[in-house]
Amino acid sequence: MTTASTSFIDRRTVIDWLGIVPFMVFALAFLIVPTLYLIVGAFFNPAGEFTFQNIVDLFSPSILGAYWISIRVSVASALGGGLIGFFLAWAVVLGGVPSWIRSSLLTFSGVASNFAGVPLAFAFLATLGRTGLVTVLMRDWLGFNLYSTGFNLLSFFGLTITYMFFQIPLMVLILTPALDGLKKEWREASEILGASSWQYWRMVVLPILWPSLMGATLLLFANAFGAIATAFALTGASLNIVPILLYAQIRGDVLHNPNLGYALALGMIVITGISNILYIWLRTRAERWQK
């Protein structure tokens, strides 16, 4: 009797676990093992001996420079996109604008946050490039030559404003629900207690909202850090950001050491990984107020 029931349970458990085998095999083969292969490879030299030399070599000036430009572009586009995105979300949730603006902004944000890659680079070249619409209109109407100011679309600043095109809508999409979660009662309560608008924002809204704000900004940062197609189409290989360096390394071993390439990839995973872990932690904090 007992043996029969245990074997029945065992059979059922086995079937239960068999059900997710296809998914697990897929995830292992095409996501986890390829990534682990690079991570492990970063700690070996081409002869197959364990070493930290690749990690040390990451701190050479040229590679460190690439990481530094990447981090600066990602931080700048995350902060710029985050700021404008926050004000847009605030305007449609609390700013008292007509509701059709809110729904069109959200629909448009869904589209624009997915409009990245090569075509986005084309769009900005056609707008702010040397013969782009805005550049030409400024020259013809205002007599102002944008490029005489040292502005260049194929630069740190140009890449940042291009990335902001998908960063702003992403921020809008993440922050709108968080702002919706601010209860009317909180504002009323603080007004009854004699708080000014500034005090309400500083002592009620910000403490509630900062995990969402920080978390969303981190997500924007990781989003920009891993992106390559836009930068590649915009600047070719002239702007030395990490994904482009890695692309060149995969194509032609420009670092003359395959294992240093693995370390370069490891560095990217570490940076996007840390920002995502922080994001998840902040999101769980933010959700406490959204019930």
């Binding site: 292969y37 847009l88 056609a126 995969i250």
Partner: protein
Amino acid sequence: MKAHKIFAWLAIAIGAIYFFVPLIGTFEFSLRMRRGIYSFDAYQSVFTDAQFRATFGFSMLMALVTIIVGMLLIVPTAYWVRLRLPQMRQVVEFITLLPLVIPAIVIVFGYLRLYNSSSWIPFTGSTQGTNVLLTFSYVTLALPYMYRSVDTAMRTIDVRTLTEAAEILGAKWPTIMFRCIFPNVMSGVLSGAFITFAIVMGEFTMAALLNRPAFGPYLQLVGANKAYEPSALAVIAFAITWLSMGLIQLVSRFSKLTPSRP
């Protein structure tokens, strides 16, 4: 009160400028091909380009195969996890979010090391094998979006009761899967499919590094060599994204109207 409303409109205005000026600029630029007057010559040049048609068709086919493979993998998994393995839910969810954490270029770098022609499983040894690998790489990229939309749709149906009812009526597993579960999560499947379509059509990194003639690398190539065609292509790409997102909205609105929910 007055001041904050002005400020709100100011924010909207800045946002509108940021969103619309590049789009207007792109469209205007795409019309400039013929000297002095606006024309659709750039579009004509794009549409008559044999390479455009070939790469566009290739990416469309890839998107279709990706959607089918991805859904056959994800819908049964999401169903099974809800029904039998709720303790694995967080693990599976975590795995599906990994492609957002690990940059695409890192994933494809791993493929090239692990599945090159001198490895145990030489996917990249043949054209057909590389196409299979490219499909799997797209499924990986689409995993977070597909899983989320399917799982959201599955939350609104009572998986357990549906399965038990079907079993009592004598249905076998394929019948339960394809005639009970799939039709009930169709809104999620379609939303996931459209976003996957938009992702695959514009994807550059995977296809370029696996050396397949997809639409993304073609865009990059045209961008490096031509003047007006890139902006025409950008307008087309934007239209594809807009179409995909519009269809998602339509599907979700449509599914809200269907009252057959427990």
